[in-house]
């Protein structure tokens, strides 16, 4: 059981968790978090799977860094949207999906 495999498995696990969260959670912020989980999992897996033969492989690292940047910007926009939407709608869930019971009514509202 090499370290690489551990990385790979952890990555896969993260992806799985993320997907679960994505499908289970209604609250938009949670979904954003879930996305980030998946993203990180993939990058981890990428790093592990990308390491070919001996020595470091520059390509995956470059790609991962790029990906992280992209993910960051995406997350930023997403969070921003969640906030604006919550301000406008008074709640942080999509109209077609009923409120979650434990969710405070005035969440994100000002």
């Amino acid at each position: 059981m090499t370290g690489l495999t551990v990385f790979a498995l952890t990555g896969a696990a993260l992806v799985g968790l993320g997907f679960y969260g994505l499908l289970a959670a209604r609250h938009l912020l949670r979904r954003v978090v879930a996305f980030n989980l998946i993203g990180s999992g993939l990058f981890l897996f990428f790093g592990a799977a990308g390491a070919r033969g001996v020595g470091p492989d520059p390509v995956p690292q470059a790609l991962i860094i790029t990906g992280i940047v992209v993910a960051l910007s995406a997350t930023a926009l997403a969070v921003g949207l969640v906030v604006v939407h919550a301000r406008a709608a008074g709640h942080a869930v999509l109209p077609e999906e009923p409120e979650e019971p434990e969710e405070p009514k005035d969440e994100g509202a000002t």
Binding site: F19, L22, R31, E96, E97
Partner: protein, 549 residues
Amino acid sequence: MSALLTGSVWPFAVLVWPLLLGLAPVVPAWRVQAPWVLPLAPLPALVFALFGAPGATELPHLILGVELEAVPGGALLLGMTAAVWTAAGWHAARTLERSWRAGILVGFWCLTLAGNLGVFLAADVVTFYVAFAAVSLAAWFLVVHDRTESALAAGRVYITLAVAGETLLLAGLLIGAQAADSLQIAAVRESLGQAPLGGLAVALLVAGFGIKAGLVPLHVWLPLAHPVAPVPGSAVLSGAIVKAGLIGLLLFLPAGTDWGAVLMGLGLLGAFAAALWGLTQRNPKAVLAYSTVSQMGLMLLLVGAGVGAGQAAAFYALHHGMAKGALFLLVGVAVAASTPRERRATLVLAGAVALSVAGLPLTGGALVKAAAKDGLAPAATFAVTLSGATTTLILAWFLHRLAVERKPTPGQNWAALAAGAALLALAAMLAPWVLWSGATDLPAGYPLRASVMFDAAWPVLAGLALAALVIRRPAPELPPGDLLTVSRPRARLHAPRRPVVVLPTALGRKFVRLLIRARTPEMALRRWSAAGGLLVAGVLLLAILLVDF
């Protein structure tokens, strides 16, 4: 481009001249006095019939290529027709009341005339059909001219039968033309004999022409139309127009067709039944109409028998046309008569013509009958002879009605009208004598033989005797139009209006409802929980299809 016209220009002029005159009423200034052109319209035809040179005329560019030629029988009838139309035209010119309606009548009078002359001149199927359509349809205006309710009713019957006749004819002619692969009447007649559909074609033609020629039971329009038409109109209808049907049969009936027998049978039936039925009429013109049906019956019998290739029938028609025309005109003359002397003169003249029609020896009628009997089977010969009696009977009845009917309309110039009728009557008397040698191969003295004279005389006397009885104890009065009681205008045709289909709206509404329902799953899909699940499912499905295990 071939020449516009080859051959003699006369036949063409004969047809075009009336058409040109017929346009006179278009000029408003002339409209009221237009009837004066009527006696002039047939003149070229008259001249052509008397001195016309034989030989064909072709106008390749007209209609489907017009060919004109006067066949022997046709020439006789052409002359007769021209004469009748001239006399009638003269009568019409003097009697028609001057109104814009007169203008319409003049137009269609000339059109009818052109068609009537055309059927005797046409040498190709299409021209014949065109002419026939003109004569039979345009004549409708002569029937309905007075616009009275009965006139319009009679007009409906007339036009219905006429259009039906046209249709039957066209079908028949088409079969013939196609079989012959030619429009020549002669060729078509040939091919009708052996063409696969020839039998059908002949049946169609017999029906089509029969309607016009008053073949029982297709004659019903005659007794309806004649009483209601103006006097000159009836004259040409009975004298000339019905002969269009006759010439049609003469031209197209192939030699030795089985339909000859049928024609003879129906002709015989008409000859006697119509004459007797005429006794139930009171209106002199109605009586004359039935007499026409019966006379046409005789002619159809002759056609059916195919005597002398139809020469006999044509010869007979020559006389009957002019005589019957004269009789109808005399009805008008009698109406115009204001003094007893004039009335008496009218009746005498009418009587003379009637006797000629009945076939009293030495009259024109006797000659044509004699010529007709020549070559007939004995039974048929006897029938023709016997018909003299019924003819006498009905015409006597006619004279009686004419004498008792009195509704003089003053203001007409009796002499002028009488002169026209008298001239026509004279022509009817003499023409057979003049044309005898040309029309039959019998010796010149034949009509003067005792046996012939006797055969001609006894039916007339018998008829007169019967007439004496009938006039004393008349038959019950019946409305004209024996087989037909004129129906009200066909209300059926204007059945309740159904809306024009736009689209099955019920179906449309169902569809819309279905659409609305389709939005529910769409909304459900929007839920990420559903859509995300679908997405995963999609991945798996694709993976299953793409990964080869």
